[in-house]
């Protein structure tokens, strides 16, 4: 009736280690499975369901990048908003970021330090959201990104499949 699925993962002793309930809703929440810890393959919830409806905030000072990244995300079913350029004060970033599930930030912005922004988001975060994903054309930025609380890195220029793969990876790594 609700087109859902429920199952329990048993540990070696045969005791339930975690339970998952998956329900298919139409619009809003992309993630409807609740993990109680433990790691297991989410074979039943298709990655596209997780991405569709995801609320994403784009932070970039390049108009071209913004337009293209927005379109990529919308193609994947995300709901995209972006900060008006110049308004990356701690308050406005925190407020905008708080209402979304993923923040995508360009590491090579001119007037804005993306790592600062990422740190601010991490500090003002309560709970799981939002994730932060960085876009960069530099190599070897993983460590610095991880230190700033960035959850994923995309090489520029952004390619749809890589974006999708990285989104899935971030969403599945609790």
């Amino acid at each position: 009736m609700m087109q859902g699925n429920i199952w329990a993962i048993l540990d070696p002793q045969g005791l339930p280690e975690s339970m998952t309930l998956v329900l298919r809703f139409q619009l809003q929440s992309p993630l409807t499975s609740s993990n109680l810890g433990g790691s297991f393959e989410q074979q039943y919830a298709s990655p596209s369901c997780q991405i569709a409806g995801l609320k994403v905030l784009l932070i970039d000072d390049d108009d071209i990048n913004l337009v293209i990244a927005r379109k990529f995300l919308e193609k994947l079913g995300c709901v995209v908003s972006s900060l008006p350029s110049g308004s990356t004060s701690p308050n406005s970033v925190g407020a905008s970021a708080a209402s979304c599930q993923l923040v995508m930030v360009n590491l090579e912005m001119v007037r804005v330090n993306a790592f600062d922004v990422a740190l601010r988001i991490r500090q003002s975060r309560s709970g799981r959201w939002p994730f932060v994903m960085a876009m960069t054309s530099e190599h070897n930025t993983w460590e610095k990104c991880a230190q700033s609380g960035i959850n994923g890195v995309l090489k520029k220029p952004v390619i749809l499949q890589e974006l999708k793969d990285e989104l899935v990876r971030i969403l599945q790594s609790t």
């Binding site: 390049d62 337009v67 001119v110 054309s137």
Partner: protein
Amino acid sequence: MKKSLFDQGYLDEQFCQVEDLQDEASPNFVEEVVTLFFKDSGRLMSNIEQALEKYPRDFNRWDAYMQQLKGSCCSIGASRMKNECMSFRDSCGQGNVEGCMRSFQKVKREHAVLRQKLESYFQLLRQAGPAGAATRPIM
């Protein structure tokens, strides 16, 4: 014509990524992005030109501007232009003023050529109409 743009290196695979984004909801997406690109890049290039004059040997400033331009080129697949941007940045890194000046002229030239070629390309597409779209099924 599109094939020659790729064969001659004016455009790379990233342009195809952008084209793939075009759909019924945004049927002119590619042309809109390209128009935006030329508007933005024109502005960036005049900033660079001014900086070259007003701030001699300010390689950091020059490089920062060029990094922006290179980023845009990259995003739409403007391959030759991107390469010239990278040469410019190399020259900045080496503190080579002559090299920067030379590279910048090349960037300007590639910019002009690409604009011309893409304008012709879109004109052809308009004439061909939706049925005449060559290699890509969705236009």
